[in-house]
């Protein structure tokens, strides 16, 4: 039983990371109908940047974290400006491939700039454990769960109560109407990408102590797809719910099922859910109006 709970918590923590990446997908998709297949690589870049700030430049963990998030936000909006803006309006297939290309470029650059060894970051939580009865919970995992929860509250407040947040929602629902209302739609796109990149960066920095920083971190982003699709690509809570489900499935199947099933468990669950509900668990079914 204890094992089960521990695996569960570990799964939830992993799921939060998936959820954060999936969140980035959903943010960008809702606003621009672009699915950013490079989101995982953006997370990886965030992790590497945090390594640069915290380890190489020796800054305090929290300051480094903050700087990193800001830097990634800027880089995210730059990516939007340079790569995505020119191809808005192209068929989805092309845009998807462009983001895949972006991911490839980021991964290769990371390998060139930081090398291919695994890098380690020391955090205030490293190595610490919390004991509840006979449960041993790693502080790293807990910090992920707590941070994700906090981030969700912040994002909720942002979208609900700030002008920019409401403007973003408007843009995502009807671009043309948003234009007419005076919302600078193109700037909104940049902001959305900046936000998504910042969220991915947070995920990356939280994940870094657990998985170490290396250029294949982006592949975790691929696991986040099932999370986003499960959640229906329509809502933030959906993305997180999807992420947690995938994380838990993976963690439990790694523990209870024979070797090798862990990796595909997420995908099997995904296909099963899609066959039952093609729009994902929380997605809405849109029918074209003719």
């Amino acid at each position: 039983m204890i094992d089960f709970i521990q695996q569960l918590i570990g799964g939830v923590a992993l799921g939060c990371v998936y959820g954060l990446i999936a969140l980035g997908f959903v943010l960008i998709y809702k606003a621009t109908e672009v699915v950013n297949f490079g989101q995982g690589e953006i997370m990886m870049l965030g992790a590497f940047l945090s390594y640069t700030f915290i380890v190489m430049l020796g800054l305090d963990y929290w300051i480094g974290f903050l700087l990193c998030v800001i830097a990634m936000a800027i880089i995210g909006s730059l990516m939007e400006r340079v790569v995505i803006r020119p191809i808005l309006g192209y068929p989805q297939f092309s845009v998807v491939m462009a983001t895949i290309g972006l991911g490839l470029v980021l991964r290769a650059l990371a390998g060139i700039i930081w090398g291919t060894d695994d890098l380690r970051i020391e955090t205030p939580f490293s190595g610490g454990v919390l004991r509840v009865g006979s449960l041993v919970l790693a502080q790293d995992s807990l910090s992920i769960i707590v941070a994700t929860a906090l981030l969700c509250v912040v994002l909720y407040a942002f979208f609900r109560f700030t002008r920019v947040g409401v403007a973003m929602q408007a843009t995502s629902q009807n671009m043309l109407a948003a234009y007419y209302m005076g919302i600078p739609v193109k700037r909104m796109f940049s902001l959305i990408w900046a936000l998504a990149a910042a969220v991915a960066c947070v995920a990356g920095v939280l994940l870094a102590p657990i998985t170490l920083v290396h250029s294949n971190l982006g592949f975790l982003g691929i696991k986040a797809f099932p999370a986003a699709v499960l959640g229906g690509f329509g809502s933030i809570p959906g993305a997180l719910a999807g992420g947690v489900i995938i994380g838990v499935v993976e963690s439990l199947s790694g523990f209870y099922l024979p070797e090798g099933f862990k990796d595909v468990a997420a995908y099997v669950v995904l296909l099963a859910v899609l066959l039952w509900r093609p729009q994902g668990l929380f997605g809405s079914h849109a029918v074209k109006k003719v």
Partner: protein, 381 residues
């Protein structure tokens, strides 16, 4: 300017609409037939890879270019074909049997994979194909009894009626398969099936209202595409004589999509251009790694930049060029650049060059423009 005068519907429908087209393609055919006698072993080997990738490119064109369905998991079909070929060949089943059999079986798998496509669109479909590919890769790695798991499988030389196929014969086999696949794909475009595909790609609603059974044609597109890819897989397995699951990873699926992005999504000729590019990219990269720093150094010397600056630039260039991720970097950049600047790929550029030469000096650069669809939401397709 070329003005084609057609005097009957039958003539308009011909494979080679003009005499000059027939002439040039005929010449190409002769060159390909004579290749083993004209090319060295290394180049012939590369040509075989081009043919194999061309088959896959055509398969991708049928599914994505013609029918508009996204697949980023095609390496799975490639793998299934390759492993079936390996297993069958090691059990001494005749080559023609398992070549066709692998294609048929992979086509069946493609049909099954296409069933979810009926309910999924766009991004959901792409991710489902991704999931499917991962699952197949994992099955191949785990099913050690049949596939020897991660250690991979060796293949015997391909044999037909007892005769081992040497390099030249294998080349002709690949050429034959490629030509057959090409003809089949071209036949599709000139038939009701091809038109059903394009209808589904552009407007499923209208397609259904015209009486097209979209379910049937979507799954057919998947089946045909998978079948072609499976056959290519068999040839690939024999060419390398050794296969293992990691040779069919997501990156390979991305390579396949690159074939049609670089070559041109909407045309079969584009798929072939794309295949040529993908195979030539490796030798070109090696050439670049070896020659480019020296070239740049020499250039800087002629211009007058010397000493420490030139040396550090050369050293930096050398370091970048020899980094392990270089190929990914360049491919990633190429994908992005092609999508932004050459949406119709090399084929589009080829057509524009032809138009330029034909219309000179009246050619207008805007001739090849592409209509943007800002406001048309794809969410509601």
């Amino acid at each position: 300017m070329n003005v084609h005068v057609r005097t009957s519907y039958a003539q308009a429908d011909r494979l080679f609409p003009t005499r000059s087209a027939a002439f040039w393609y005929g010449l190409l055919g002769l060159a390909l037939l004579a290749a083993p006698f004209l090319l060295e072993s290394y180049y012939l080997s590369q040509l075989v890879f081009v043919l194999i990738y061309a088959i896959v490119g055509i398969a991708m064109n049928v599914l994505s270019g013609q029918a508009g369905q996204i697949s980023i998991g095609h390496a799975a079909f490639f793998a299934i074909g390759a492993y079936m070929g390996a297993v069958a060949s090691n059990h001494e089943i005749p080559l023609p049997v398992y070549l066709v059999g692998a294609g048929a079986f992979t086509g069946l798998v493609g049909y099954l994979a296409g069933l979810p496509a009926l309910r999924l669109h766009g991004i959901y479909l792409a991710i489902a194909t991704l999931a499917f590919a991962f699952i197949v890769e994992e099955i191949l790695a785990r099913w050690e009894a049949v596939t020897n798991g991660n250690e991979g499988m060796m293949l015997f030389e391909p044999t037909v009626v007892g005769q081992t196929l040497g390099e030249t014969s294998f080349y002709y086999l690949c050429l034959l398969v490629a030509v057959l696949v090409l003809l089949a794909a071209v036949n599709i475009t000139r038939s009701p099936t091809g038109r059903a595909f394009l209808a589904i790609r552009d407007s499923e609603t209208a397609a259904r209202s015209m009486g097209i059974d979209t379910a049937r044609y979507k799954t057919a597109a998947f089946a045909i595409s998978a079948g072609f890819t499976g056959v290519a897989g068999v040839l690939y397995a024999h060419k390398l004589s050794f296969i293992s699951p990691e040779m069919f990873s997501l990156l390979v699926s991305i390579d396949f999509v690159m074939i049609i992005i670089i070559g041109g999504l909407l045309s079969i000729r584009g798929a072939i251009f794309g295949a040529i590019f993908m195979i030539m990219s490796d030798p070109l990269l090696i050439l670049m790694k070896d020659e480019l720093p020296g070239l740049v150094g020499g250039l800087m010397g002629t211009v007058g930049i010397g000493g420490a600056v030139a040396d550090s630039v050369q050293a930096g260039l050398g370091r970048v060029l020899n980094a392990p991720g270089l190929k990914s970097l360049i491919f990633g950049l190429l994908i992005i650049l092609f999508i932004i600047f050459e949406p119709l790929g090399l084929d589009g550029r080829w057509l524009r060059i032809k138009a330029y030469l034909a219309q000179f000096p009246l050619y207008r650069p805007a001739t090849g423009g592409r209509a943007r669809m800002y406001l048309k939401s794809e969410r509601n397709r």
